[in-house]
Amino acid sequence: MRLFDPHIHMTSRTTDDYEAMYAAGVRAVVEPAFWLGQPRTSPSSFYDYFDSLLGWEPFRAAQYGIAHHCTIALNPKEANDPRCTPVLDQLPRYLVKDNVVAVGEIGYDSMTPAEDTALSAQLQMAADAELPALVHTPHRDKLAGLHRTIDVVRESALPLDRVLLDHLNETTVKDAKDAGCWLGFSVYPDTKMDEDRMVAILRSYGPEKVLVNSAADWGRSDPLKTRKVADAMLKAGFDDDMVDLVMWRNPVAFYELSGRLHLEVEGTDATHEGNSILRGGE
């Protein structure tokens, strides 16, 4: 079974996680730029983070046979902090990089005017850079946030079919699907979706344009949720091809809209088997 986790924050995870993910079948991940749990106070913190997503993290992933790409953006939460908004001016130079496969995570957190500005600006940047966009839907006031998000995308230069709306659930999936967007579901231990509800949604709405992710990060989360959903699908009677469509071909198809997806992992021969994240003599 091959698995693609289209949304996972590996910066916050350990090498044990990479090892377990590989053993579970994960061969590719996309890491969206997001906030770190602790607010940043200057643009430079973002640049170091972006550079890590374009350097160190793909290197770590490659040690475990996993292809790593990223999405780059100013996240909606920190778009509200004037100390952070200068990041918007520097984003275009990151969006040309080879490993950047979308603009994201963008979207709404508290639906403020500052978030409106950042969302519109970054949708335009995605169109300019010929990238799709990963758009987070808010945790609070979710359905209203979804409608507002779709309205803003409609007014932007980016077509709806180049947008992945993420963190969907039973209350938001229909409108997102009717809008023609790609449909992302985050499966969590306690919040967001769980495996059985995910299977029920696949039964009701079909597998087309559906992506399932763990969104694992620094909080309570599980980087093996993609495998657990795949197992739940098989148990519920979906066949191997349907699992492969949802867990591999759909994320590949979405991120291939960038023209930059490269799924062969290179440079693992000397340092595979997990013994290579050495300390370099420190």
């Binding site: 550079d51 374009l54 350097g55 160190w56 793909p58 290197f59 001016d89 520097q90 130079r93 040309v96 990089k97 080879d98 490993n99 023209g259 930059r260 490269h262 062969e264 290179e266 440079g267 000397a270 340092t271 013994n275 290579s276 994240i277 050495l278 300390r279 370099g280 003599g281």
Partner: protein
Amino acid sequence: MTRTPALGALRARLESALDDDARAWLAQALATAAAQPAPSEAPAPQVTASQAPAPTWELRFAQAGRRCGPEHADDARLLLLGAARADTATLTRLYEQGTAAERRAVLHALTHLVPGPEALGLTEDALRTNDTSLVAAAVGPYGAEHLDAHAWRHAVLKCLFTGVSVDAVAALADRARGDGELARMLGDYARERTAAGRPVPGDLQRVLALTEARTEARTEARTDALTESPTEQPAEDPTEQPAEAASAASPQES
């Protein structure tokens, strides 16, 4: 620019490996880079670097992986840097704003584009990382020429620690020869490994043997892309470069 013939040979080799689309893209990108005024000839920028749009050739530098394939991107980027006659300020900016792959290309370019030690900070930065591809690039010919004895010894040791083959270390035999301090460090490291019940890296014994070598003629084979195919560089004896690097080696070594 001291070794442009090597870049010429590299271009011929790369073009033969690329498909038609990538070859055409590369030709266009190199022409764009070559058409740039050299940094020393360019007018002083009227806006700060963060406001100015990146020159087109720098966009091509970023795109090389998806246009030529990741396996050819290092070579394509190296050629672009050469065609643009990138100076130390440009190389530094591209390194600082670069992905790991872009940084690697800048490190490879230093020996071709920077005659003195002024870009050594980039090599030192790479040696502080734990990305083995950056470490390997940092111990290439530019590092061999300009790293002082202490930093060079630590770079060799870091290769052993992180599993980078010492084949990546340019001018290894010449710099290691007679280096008693390196021999001591290697011996201590071997004892530490043995005390822990862990195997001693095979490369350690190899370098240790080189520290004892006394013959002038011995030259360590190098594996960097510019010399691995001597048949395509008839005018340039690939065994010459380590000696050349050694002759310019830091005075601390002699």
